[in-house]
């Protein structure tokens, strides 16, 4: 377990360093994810321990967003007066993005396969 934690932190740190060094427009952990993916592809398999710890962490991913979510409390003045409109915009826009992404992906895959099924 400690080995996997060191591995994840190491890739995050390398990712953060790469972002600073190359001035990339994405966050360090996302670059770390790409690097770990490349490392797994080179190795050709995921060690059991890495799989257990990674999936354990991701099973509770939702919990990790709670502190940032509570951060809304520090910005309520920004929303004053416009929050009903913003809520309408966010719900409509997010639902449109979800529908368009899913339907486009399904349509493209059907086109590629040349027959039925999503």
């Amino acid at each position: 377990m400690i080995g996997t934690i060191a591995l994840l932190l190491g890739f995050q740190l390398t990712g953060e360093a790469a972002v600073r060094l190359l001035d990339l427009p994405v966050p360090g952990p996302v670059v770390g994810m790409v690097m770990l993916f490349a490392a797994l592809a080179i190795r050709g398999a995921v060690p059991d321990e890495v799989s257990t710890v990674a999936n354990g962490l991701l099973a509770h991913l939702a919990l990790l967003f709670v502190p940032a979510g509570v951060g809304i409390i520090a910005h309520t003045d920004r929303l004053e007066g416009i929050w009903p409109i913003l809520l309408v915009v966010l719900i409509a826009s997010t639902l449109m993005a979800v529908a368009v992404t899913a339907v486009t992906l399904s349509a493209m895959r059907r086109l590629q396969q040349g027959r039925g099924g999503k």
């Binding site: 994840l8 427009p25 994405v26 966050p27 360090g28 952990p29 996302v30 770390g32 994810m33 690097m35 770990l36 797994l40 995921v46 799989s51 710890v53 990674a54 962490l57 991701l58 099973a59 991913l61 939702a62 919990l63 967003f65 709670v66 502190p67 940032a68 979510g69 509570v70 951060g71 809304i72 409390i73 520090a74 910005h75 920004r78 929303l79 416009i82 409109i85 913003l86 809520l87 309408v88 915009v89 966010l90 719900i91 409509a92 826009s93 997010t94 639902l95 449109m96 993005a97 979800v98 529908a99 368009v100 992404t101 899913a102 486009t104 992906l105 399904s106 493209m108 590629q112 999503k118």
Partner: protein
């Protein structure tokens, strides 16, 4: 009673109480969600956030004090994002074959997320600086704030809009996809749509569905962060011309 109050005053200043309450509220919210047959409106992130905001208001605690405890949970977001490579690698054999469909769906979803927010917001009379803060709302917070700053939005407003977008996606995306005829076996499309339109909070929702959905959500989140960073400055420039 006054002794209890003194204990509270002491504890409220320590990180432990806020760390404990964060984990406890999420645990309780998750149990409630499962007991109510996974009712979408009872999304555990939404309920835990509402409960904690309520506690902070009632106890007159500022966010800085709360975050001193909650930061230990928040910090795990970085390693968890790196860990997304593991389920994604589990789908690697399908990625090459799906490259073109995923790329087209990404572009369609990304453009829709930005242009629909801009269009609907403009129709409803939002100010230009609010509209600029809205455009990057579907991508992960640090990227969204960077984009917002670059095009003259308000980064702190963007941070709030990003969180609200994530919760909106986590609550409404699955019921919508169900209405559109997507069943439990369509984990790929559902996951990818959640990641593209509702970043990490959508990805967390996708992991509650299945590991496959979570893998494609993580992929969608990462790719859309990159595409939106390239796209929004262009769309903003066009918007400035039309204004």
């Amino acid at each position: 009673m006054s002794e209890l109050f003194e204990i509270w005053v002491y504890l409220a200043e320590r990180p432990l109480v806020w760390l404990t309450l964060t984990v406890l509220m999420y645990w309780a919210a998750h149990r409630l969600y499962l007991q109510c047959n996974e009712l979408a409106l009872l999304n555990p992130v939404l309920i835990a956030v509402v409960a904690l905001v309520g506690i902070l208001i009632v106890t007159d605690t500022d966010y800085g004090t709360y975050f001193e405890g909650a930061q230990f949970v928040h910090f795990l977001l970085g390693p968890a994002t790196v860990a997304l490579a593991v389920p994604l690698y589990g789908q690697a054999h399908r990625l090459r074959r799906m490259g073109l469909p995923l790329a087209v769906a990404l572009i369609a979803g990304s453009v829709t997320a930005v242009v629909s927010a801009l269009g609907i917001g403009w129709l409803l009379g939002l100010e230009p600086d609010v509209l600029r803060s809205l455009m990057p709302k579907s991508v992960t917070t640090p990227v969204a704030m960077g984009i917002s700053e670059k095009i003259g939005g308000l980064p702190s407003l963007t941070a709030v809009l990003v969180i609200l977008t994530g919760i909106t996606g986590a609550v409404f995306a699955m019921p919508l996809l169900h209405l559109l005829g997507y069943g439990p076996e369509d984990a790929t499309a559902k996951g990818f749509a959640l990641g593209v339109s509702a970043h990490g909070i959508g990805t967390a929702r996708a992991f509650q569905h299945s590991e496959e959905a979570g893998a494609f959500a993580g992929l969608g989140m990462g790719l859309n962060a990159l595409l939106t960073a390239l796209l929004v400055p262009v769309i903003n420039a066009l918007f400035m011309l039309a204004w």
